[in-house]
Symmetry: C2
Subunit: 421 residues, 2 copies
């Protein structure tokens, strides 16, 4: 008998019919003799509908109330799944994030889980009940206010619960069959991966792979939670995310895949004095606005002026705010101009195999050059190469790299519709 | 400066537009220098939509999960009203019933408020913030589960909060102008009452007046909370509910009005042994099924058989269950048959003036007799006469009695559409 945490995305519970199917799978797992904890996202379009209502009422709603509003979505889906399970003759009890002991920071809209104290969940499990926990939400440690975890929050809730309960596996049910070597909507022969190490999955997530969110993988890695990403439409196994890259024998290390990201924008701060401390001022100002930056490039100083430029990428959704904030600090920081470009895309190659194959960077750049794709910015880690290209050339870049590194399989991948959160 | 608790029903917050208008009224009250606590019901049809979803998923959903589901409705409306207030430049913070310290019994779907410990509400008020509290909900004392208070629960939340916070007034905003001498949809010249004592309002509510629910008036009376029932569509004063009947000088005591109730059904238990203890068995069995009975009549024993019949009324929604339950206990209780009739209606005359006007019962019965309306069952209190009639004759009975006691005014009452909870 194992303890299984299952997470179902919004598309898996989008209708009464789908909710019943999810309930069947949950009860089936319970009947196999396992303890089951389930985390559900809000039903299909619920979140969008709530966002729409908020917009009608208030152009700039306060984040605390937004969290109060949005968390009702998971509350609804979890209660409905509990009811559907009940109808199948099994016992189920649903808990809010707060009731399940999901303690978070106080940053509304993107709170981070600090701790999980699932005593009520454990008690219910001990009584033989299936437990449902509302994903994406928690309660802030300081103010005891309802918080949300931001995008992909339900996955993180599931993994954090799995860690706290010492679950045997955390199953993430989604609308794709697992983690692929590239987005099957772009690359027809993209292959499903059987297993990916935490580090590789981290890099994939950081580079735009939407299957699992970064926070969720970080949590899984830190607490060593085996994650099984699989489709809610089939019984086929998906992709197992577990194990450290360090444990993979060098000769078996391969390239994981090609990830891409369309959600970033590029900011260039022009004409900064090229003396120590000025770059730090820029990044301190950005950090204080709670904006995460990704890639960074500091241009070589122009000797004649003693000035330099700094380019960085950031989430497109924070772009406007970053530009306005920097403009407001122009005199204090001391630069001449801010440029903004949101017609960019990032393509990345990830894999532990990179360490043992010295020619990877060369092949990477050659492949893009041959396809006539210009590289704007480049950044690498031990197991990743990322470059910034024009957004119109992004799909091409993904296809070219997937082919150049021979990542394709024989089958054409199946793509299902829908998204989760 | 006063502390005002305001409650807005579902129709008052049914759309983004109405929410904005409610927010304006709230901010206006705050600007007048008052502290404001607001309780909102769920938006218009939200509850029905959630009930519909539940029905699609589970034919007999567990009550605990039903409460989890339904309470999301108030959470949504409260967060939206908070956002709308924020847009008008005032501070607002919304709390769930649990966060606001509304402690209840554990009976899901019809929990009762045991205590209100509004420390977080008080703190927020002290900081100068408008506070919103989700109505209709609380947290159970024993299991810390989310509960709902049943019909009219938001009114009770408002009055209970007003009591706990020692508010100066609890304003119940609704879609009618106040408490009327009869339902204006039935009696065209029904008059709005300026003031009603708690006892009279209790009797009106118990007899089917839907303006305030019984529990809410009970709470107001126990804690001496002045309640102002008024329309959310106008600024005109409505009806004040406060003061004891005892304090009204006899010569000023009048008749409050005619109430009616279409929600009851009649059960007759036939052929009970007419010896002590048998009636008690019937009512014990009904009580253990958590069914409230209203009027009771025990027929005179038939000497030749030593048997008697007992007739009682109960909420129609519990009728089927009561009949099945009694049938299941037939041998144990020892009766021959159960009859059920849901084509009945109850009409009542209420008023402290009844005490000092001895002819009231006679006039009451004569008026109905003249109109050819047959009385099925009669029950009285010090300040009330209620009779059971055929449901098809109920409207007639209300009109006849309203006229017989000269309760009409000169104006024709204005009726707005919509309902609250």
């Amino acid at each position: 008998m194992a303890l299984v945490v299952q997470k179902y995305g919004g598309s898996s519970v989008a209708s009464a019919d789908r909710i019943r199917r999810v309930a069947e799978r949950i009860v089936e797992t319970k009947k196999q003799g396992h303890d089951v904890v389930v985390v559900c996202s809000a039903m299909g379009d619920t979140t969008d509908e709530l966002l729409d209502l908020a917009e009608q009422v208030a152009p700039a709603p306060p984040a605390r109330e937004m969290d109060m509003l949005l968390t009702s979505g998971e509350r609804i889906s979890n209660a409905l799944v509990a009811m559907a399970i009940h109808t199948l003759g099994a016992e189920a009890r649903s808990f809010t994030g707060s009731q399940a002991g999901v303690i978070t920071t106080s940053v509304h809209g993107k709170a981070k889980i600090i701790d999980v104290t699932p005593s009520r969940v454990q008690e219910a499990l001990d009584e033989g009940t299936i437990v449902l926990v509302a994903g994406f939400q928690g309660v802030s440690q300081d103010s005891k206010d309802v918080t949300t975890l931001g995008r992909g929050g339900s996955d993180t809730t599931a993994v954090a619960l799995a860690a706290a309960l010492e679950a045997d596996v955390c199953e993430i049910y989604t609308d794709v069959d697992g983690v692929f070597t590239a987005d099957p909507r772009i690359v027809a022969d993209a292959q499903k991966l059987e297993q990916v190490s935490y580090e590789e999955m981290l890099e994939m997530a950081a580079c735009g792979s939407k299957v699992l969110m970064l926070r969720c993988v970080e949590y899984a890695r830190r607490y060593n939670v085996p994650v099984h990403v699989r489709s809610s439409y089939t019984d086929k196994p998906g992709t197992y995310v577990y194990g450290s890259m360090e444990d993979i024998p060098l000769e078996q290390a391969i390239l994981t895949g090609v990830a891409h990201d369309r959600s970033e924008a590029k900011v260039t701060v022009v004409g900064l004095p090229d003396v120590p401390g000025y770059a730090a001022k820029v990044f301190r100002a950005v950090a204080e606005s709670e904006i995460n930056i990704d890639m960074v490039l500091q241009n070589i100083s122009k000797v004649e002026t003693g000035k330099t430029d700094i380019t960085f990428t950031l989430p497109r959704s924070d772009g406007q705010r970053a530009v306005e904030m920097l403009a407001g600090h122009q005199e204090e920081i001391g630069f001449s101009q801010v440029l903004y470009d949101d017609h960019i895309g990032k393509v990345s190659l990830v894999g532990a195999g990179m360490k043992s194959h010295p020619g990877v960077t060369a092949t990477f750049c050659e492949a893009l050059a041959e396809a006539g794709i210009n590289i704007d910015l480049i950044s690498t880690s031990e197991i990743r190469i990322s470059v910034l290209v024009k957004d119109t050339e992004l799909d091409d870049a993904v296809q070219v790299l997937h082919r150049a590194f021979d990542l394709g399989g024989d089958e054409v991948a199946v793509v299902h519709a829908g998204t989760g959160r």
